[in-house]
Structures are given as C-alpha cells and as structure tokens.
Amino acid sequence: MSLSDQSKTPGRLARAWDSDIAWSFRHSPVALVAGAVSLLIILAAAFAPLIAPHDPFDPSTLNLMDGFSAPMEPNAFTGNVYWLGTDNQGRDVFSTILYGARISLFVGFAAVLLAMVLGIAAGLVAGYRGGWVDGLLMRVADVQLTFPSILLALLIFGIARGFIPPAYREEMAIWVLIVAIGLSDWVQYARVVRGATMVEKNKEYVQAAKLIGAHPAKIVLRHILPNVLGPVLVIATIGLALAIIAEATLSFLGVGVPPTQPSLGTLIRIGQGFLFSGEWWILLFPSITLLALALSVNLLGDWLRDALNPRLR
C-alpha cells in the first residue's frame, strides 16, 4: 500500500540498528547502564501484579503481626521472611516499591505527555503565526516561568481541592497531580518548539507546500512538527525525571497521592517517620529506587541530548 513497499532499502529495524543514535547508544557505557536500570524499573513497575509477592494494598492479604520485619530476617511472630522487610502495617516493602514505582511512573509519563502536548501546541501556534499571537503566548510563558513549578503545582492542587467534592478527592488526587505537574512544565517545550518552528517555517519545503495552497494546519502538523520533535524528545526525557521528582516532592509534602495509593514519594514520607526508631529499611529502599530511577532517566536524557547534537560528535 505504502510507497515504501517498492523500495529495496533494508527494513525499519535494520536501519534503526544502523542509525547514528543506535551506534552512539551501543558505544556509551553510561547510556547502556542507565538504559538498563530505567528499563528494569519500568518493566518491574508495569508487571508489578505478577512480580510482587502480594498486593500490599489489599487489606485481606495483610497480617499486622508481620509488621516491622527486618530485611532477610524471619519475623519474630510469624516467621515469614521478607527480602526488603515490612512496614508498620506488615506490608512487604518490595511489593510497595513495585506498586509505588508504578504510580510514580504513571504520574511522570502522564504529566510529561500533558506538558508536551500543551507546550508543542502553544509553540507551533506561536512560532508559525507570529505577531500578536506569539507575543501573547510568550508573555504568558514568561509570567509562568517566574513561579517555581512546585509552588505552581501546590497552587493548582489547592484550587482543585476546592472544586472537587471530598468523596472524590482520593480518586481524583492522582489526576490533579498529573494536571498540576503538567501545567507547570509546558513552558520549556513551548519555547523550544517555537524557536524551531520559526526556523523551519522559512525553509523552502514549507514554501513549496504553501505554494500549492496546502492548509496551514496540514503544513504545521505534517511538515513542521516532525522536524521540531528532536529537541522535544530530549526535554521530555529529562522532564520525565523531573516530573517523577516533582511527584515525589508533592507526595512527600502530603499534597500528592493519598496513602491508599502510595507512590515512591508517599512511601518515603511514611518511611521517614520510622528512621529514628531503627526501622531504616522502610525509608531506605524506596529512596534508593527513586534515586536510581530519576538518575538513570536523567542520564539517558543527557546522553540523548549529546547524541542528537551534531556539534558534540
């Protein structure tokens, strides 16, 4: 059906394997390790129900007697052994981390997606239309930049609490969190896309499309968008790490997801209460997971930025 069927060029996979990016990935030890760690955590989180020994948030599977088990030691009352120990309610820390990473990653991906869609749309419109539309959108972005994003997320969170009836607050908390982080992060996408759009729109291939009377929406989406996505991908990767940290920060401050659906940030908040009473594992393991996740995703983003920058080759 498509034109590509006629070509004798190698398949998509083979070409992807031979591309400069793949080569650079295979030859960068940092990227390989960071990629492996990210992938491991993402897969473990995605398949949490299959991997976790038990569902830590199903009260019927919990036994309070299992509480405060130290890692790898049999519990004093029940004799059960937990790899990473249990918390005060007898929840397996390993299982809570898997389920918590799931929520952290979901919030992170969804927030980045929201910020990306908003930012790309604003950037494309501002860059392509120019004039007062550009001026208005960029002034809004400037104002937004003057607020620290955590403060903005707190503000959005507070406003949402006022609107949502108490009965729905727990269910809605995760969505409010996504909107709060997403709305506070769109500016950088918008700026980068706007700049790239202004360069692309003056190129002759865009003029060739204008010449035949192609619709502006088609020119922007089919011609310009694919050519401005490169830098967006880099910001999105680093943005994912930042969104995960922002989610953890908000949850740690107690305005994030409720304890019934704890993310890594919530687990850290719960765990820090037990640090000085000797149950260090409740805090330590979620913290290490968060650190490993944010660091590896961030390193991947750094690598991608360098790999896509022809001047650094």
Binding site: S7, E204, Y205, L211, I212, G213, H223
Partner: protein, 330 residues
C-alpha cells in the same frame, strides 16, 4: 506575439523595516520602508524562458515570490493567462495555483527531510486531487523516470541523494501538478558546475516535452545566456532593461547592463580586459535620487540625479536611461 501567459504591471513591494513602536517614539524616528521591487512591468509569452538577472538585493526573489503568491504585492497587478491573481479565492484560486509551480534555490532546504521522496512528489498530486490510490504511485514513478531517477527511489529519504539528484526530485515535484508555468529561483546556484549543466539541460528538455514556460531568476549570466529567450535586468528593484537574449549580450543598451557584461570572467582568454563592477548596490532603504544607478554610472548627467528615467523602446527591447532619449550610448 499575442499568447501572453504572465502579465506583470507596475509591480511594487515594500517591506516595513521600522523599529518597534516604542523605539520610534523615544528615538524620534519615522517609519522606514525598504522598497524591494519598484514599478516592475513585463510580459512572458507562452513557451519562452524569461530571465531576471541582477545583483544580490536587486529584488529578483521578491518578484518570484509575488508571482507564485507567497508574498502579496504592495501595488501593481499580476495576471496569469488574463486572470488577475491575488483577488481570486476558493476554487478559482485553487485552479490557478495548479497551473504554476516553483523550483527553489537550495535543494537541501526545499525537500522535507522527514518525508520519503515518493510522498514529497505526491503531495501536489494529492492536494489538487489529480489522481488517487495506486494511480498516485504510478504517477510518482513516471515522474521520477522523467527527471532521470529510478522509480524505486520513491521509498528513499532526501538525505540519501546528492544535490543534483535532489534538484531533480524538486523538479519532479514541480511537474507533478502538471503546471504550464514554472518559476525557477536560482535553480543551479547551489550545485556543482558539472551538475549545473545537467540540470539546465533537463529543464530545457522538459520545456520542449511539456511546452512549459519558465521564469528564470539568476545572477549567473552564463546560465541565463544558455537558457533564456528574453532577459530583464534588475537594479535596486527597478527593471532597467528588457531585451532579447542574443541582442542583450551583443548590444547592451543600459550602462548597468554593459557594466555587468564587462565583469563576466572571460574563460576563452581572448585577452579582453575585464572591467570589474565598481561600487556597491546602494541601500534600498535610502535609495539615490533620480536614477538609482547614477552614483555608479560612468555616463552620469545632471538630469540623472533629479529624474527617474522611464522605460522606453530601444532597438532590442526596452530600457530606462536618460542617455537613450537623445542619442545612443557612445
């Protein structure tokens, strides 16, 4: 000749190059306008190649962009086959657009790097609804062969081709909407000399095969000599001379045309002394009074500084110079 394809009358375009409003108020400056094209009039006959030559900044590309509708004229009219452009809308404009196309200067910027060649060439076909379904692919394959590429190249990306091959792809795209008139904006200036001739010959062959009319924009006099039937010489946005190609090179009327021809490097080593072009093209924001060429003209008279010369018929075409009114240039 009666069969005029394109008629340009009094075409003028200025650009607002003023500083922002606040700066103007604080620095007490007036609005500034750059006149890129000033009162240009010419006609192009069906099947001919009309060339516009001039130095950088003389307004060649601005004229090309106005003709294809990428820029709106500030004044003046452009009529395509008797139908005035820029006031047409909807289906009429669509119909008109299909009949002209453009080949761009830089084959590295004129093809979308993320699109396959087949998609690039098919875009005008789909936009104008000339063909659909499998027919589009067949048409793309045919066009690729017409411009000397292989039908299997449709699945490749532009970066897999050389500059000359890319320009062939750009020509295939221009041909895909079956146009009658093609604006070629310096089609070979980004190419190697060895490839330039191939592309120019391809363009001539296609002209004969499809009965195309070309408007060729160039600063390269050897390209123009090879391709054009008639030539218009632009200086600072004004057409100073229009003449038949052969006569222009043997018998230039306007002092500026003469100066341009004298500056051409002589590869035949005939021993002719090459006279470099003296001076630079003046700032178009603040052009010289009277004839814009007077600061550089070897035959400058008092009158040239006051009066803008009008275009008048000469033995070879038309030219705008006060000298030509009384006696031929010595």
């Amino acid at each position: 000749m009666a069969d005029t394809v394109l008629q340009v009358a009094g075409l003028t375009r200025y650009f607002d190059v003023s500083k922002p409003w606040l700066n103007r108020v604080l620095e007490r400056e007036e609005r500034q306008f750059l006149t890129a094209v000033d009162d240009a009039s010419f006609e192009i006959e069906r099947g001919e190649t009309f060339a516009l030559v001039g130095e950088s900044g003389s307004g060649k590309s601005t004229i090309a962009k106005m003709i294809v509708g990428l820029l709106a004229p500030s004044r003046g009219t452009i009529a395509f086959d008797g139908e005035p452009m820029h006031i047409q809308q909807g289906a009429a404009m669509r119909n008109l657009r299909r009949r002209f196309q453009m080949i761009f200067q830089d084959p590295f910027a004129s093809l979308n790097p993320r699109w396959r060649v087949g998609e690039i060439i098919a875009e005008p076909i789909r936009t104008f609804g000339i063909a659909s379904g499998a027919e589009v692919e067949r048409e793309v394959a045919r066009l690729l062969e017409v411009v000397g590429l292989s039908a299997t190249d449709a699945g490749k990306f532009p970066h897999e081709f050389s500059g000359g091959q890319r320009q062939r792809i750009a020509i295939a795209r221009a041909l895909s909407s079956k146009p009658e008139f093609i604006v070629c904006d310096e089609p070979t200036s980004a190419l190697d000399v060895s490839v330039q001739a191939q592309i120019l010959n391809l363009m001539r062959d296609l002209q004969d095969e499809f009965g195309l009319t070309y408007l060729l924009i160039s600063h390269d006099l050897s390209v123009v000599r090879h391709m054009a039937n008639r030539i218009g010489v632009l200086y600072l946005g004004r057409l100073v001379e229009i003449a038949d190609s052969k006569r222009l090179f043997t018998d230039p009327q306007h002092p500026y045309t003469r100066m341009l021809l004298d500056a051409v490097p002589d590869l035949a080593l005939s021993g002719r002394r090459r006279t470099p072009v003296t001076g630079e093209i003046p700032n178009p924001i603040n052009p010289p009074s009277g004839c814009a060429f007077h600061p550089r003209c070897p035959h400058v008279m008092e009158r040239c500084k006051r009066e803008i010369p009008l275009s008048r018929p000469t033995a070879t075409g038309t030219a705008a110079c006060h000298l030509l009114e009384d006696a031929p240039v010595a």
